[in-house]
Symmetry: C2
Subunit: 339 residues, 2 copies
DNA sequence: GTGAAAGCGCTAACAA
DNA sequence: TTGTTAGCGCTTTCAC
């Protein structure tokens, strides 16, 4: 049987309150008393019972992270960063997968499992701005992603429009004029796809290049196969293009595969740029120029902001919207030499 | 304030025991009583307090999953499968990253966090057979991986030797005789690298092909860049080869990138086979022939076995070793037409 | 600076 | 079939 506070108190010859004080680093304890307690703890290999602690204190020391799917590299790398960050802050992470399904996302927000965590970092994919009232939950919640803006919670996200605009401008600076897009979502205005497409259009407009709807490849999901399919459709349509902006790296890598199968050279015939800066983008053939959307910073900030909310007693603190910095990572797929 | 059992009991006009019985599906309750309780629960939107429940029952409804790193696709896809499987069984997963570091792995086994979980699925990478006594922990533990065999716990793993042998035989059947290996670990006997190298040697021997140490590319880690580096070293050494067996997919994809940079065609000049069947292997250029080591089955089995241990009162149940089935997934990188 | 004691919300042994 | 009651191990208020 595991040792309890009482056992430690008995061995140390003090009351349980004193032991509790030692464990919780309460400052005013006589050093000799403290040492006796510490010795007793060591002797018994005492460990606080976390269930009892959380029953009493209402805190679990665990935060939740909800993502669509870990097998999507972006979210795996995000989860990795969140876990590392949480570790530095001494808390543990419980991961939930939503499949990007709206109903499951909403359900998760009120699931009894939320009791296991002190707060939630929530990467929404299925919900949209109309659902933002569902975010008015009774616990600290930090929203990620670009589906909902101006909601009732803290929100950490990236500069989608600016970054997509910069990506497009990068291609334009290379002399490309017929820039295809892979991964657009029909009629979407916000959301990663909508915002990034807007950045693309802004860049075209600024450069005086007309927008050609024939250059836009639509997909429902952003898996690799969707990128490949969209590129196949684009090639089959016969539309001409000299560059492609994939709305994320996974899509872009799928599209590049199809381009090369069709005998087109990257970047000579078609330059390519992605979005996310996955680890993989460094090792594709050719290596992929992409946008680093500040994933590490997003993870770090989300954890910090969530823990602040958890620690804060001020419930009226207004929601914050925090944007991470992006940067273009230039690699072979847009190397100018081949332009 | 959240409703408690007492509130429900009061509203329903019964005792808390009756409410508890209803919640825990205790069979002998009069239907009318049950309905009254259910109505009260609905009225108050009552949810059981999980901390109190686990303090009392000693169960948390959470299982732990320890992996080296989520940003390694293999482990991301494994975690995905474990979470989905756990969900089907009604339990939640808490993920820990060890970085594959032996000290952190050992520490994790006795971390206070283990109290947050009813058991652990543990993918060891840094520990080895000499450390197997550390696995004698006081809670249900299912080991994954190939670092420790014959340990004191249940172990779910793959047929590394057989699968690697089959992979090598697949290349030999293509007429390849000079088969390079990428990702070997100096002096390792067990562990993924050691076992897979053994399967490779067995296949060579069976085919009467002499083993040539010059064909073995060593790496410390199995990231993509390690595969690229090892292949670069192999090419620089001037050794001739007509096929490559990458000990995992990530390594193989890195190596393929370098081969193609060097102007070699896959599979015409060099056939390539990997190990893991990552999602990515379907979309590389060329698509990658690989071994599906039964990852879904491993995840499913690990969760099932762990939950059995948690539910079982028989502590003397001997440890089981369970091997998943593998299969070769043939794709372009070993297409015979180009042989 | 330290101790005594209440009680967080639940489960389960025991009673009725 | 349902009720009473004793803790699970901890934090915390209030004394001393």
């Amino acid at each position: 049987m595991a040792a309890t506070l009482h056992d430690v108190a008995r061995i140390a010859g003090v009351s349980i309150k004193t032991v509790s004080n030692v464990i919780n680093d309460y400052p005013h304890i006589r050093p000799t008393t403290k040492q006796r307690v510490l010795d007793a703890i060591a002797e018994l290999d005492y460990r606080p019972n976390l269930s009892a602690r959380s029953l009493r204190s209402g805190r679990t020391g665990v935060i939740g992270l909800a993502v669509p799917e870990l097998s999507l590299s972006y979210f795996a790398e995000l989860a990795d960063a969140v876990i590392r960050s949480a570790e530095r802050h001494g808390v543990t992470v419980l991961i939930e997968q939503t499949g990007g399904d709206r109903a499951r996302e909403i359900e998760l927000l009120t699931s009894p499992r939320r009791q296991l965590t002190d707060g939630l970092i929530f990467s929404a994919l299925g919900m949209d701005s109309d659902d933002s009232e569902y975010l008015r939950v009774g616990y600290p919640l930090v929203l990620l992603g670009e589906r909902i803006f101006g909601g009732p919670t803290d929100h950490v996200t990236m500069r989608n429009v600016d970054a997509a605009r910069a990506a497009t401008e990068h291609l334009i600076a290379l002399g490309r004029r017929r820039i295809a897009v892979i991964g657009a979502h029909e009629g979407e205005v916000i959301g990663s796809a909508g915002l990034r497409l807007r950045g693309y259009r802004e860049a075209l407009e600024a450069a005086g290049i007309p927008f050609d709807p024939a250059l836009i490849g639509y997909t429902t999901l952003w898996h690799r196969s969707n990128g490949a399919d969209a590129m196949r459709a684009l090639l089959a349509s016969g539309v001409e293009f000299d560059a492609v902006f994939g709305l994320n790296d996974t899509l872009t890598l799928g599209a590049m595969r199809v381009l090369q199968e069709a005998g087109l050279r990257i970047p000579k015939d078609v330059a390519a740029i992605g979005f996310d800066d996955l680890d993989e983008a460094q090792y594709s053939l050719p290596t992929l120029t992409t946008i680093d959307p500040g994933r590490e910073e997003i993870a770090e900030t989300a954890v910090r902001v969530l823990l602040e909310r958890i620690a804060s007693t001020d419930l009226a603190l207004p929601p914050r919207e925090i944007l991470a910095d992006f940067r273009i990572v230039e690699r072979e797929s847009t190397a100018p030499a081949a332009a």
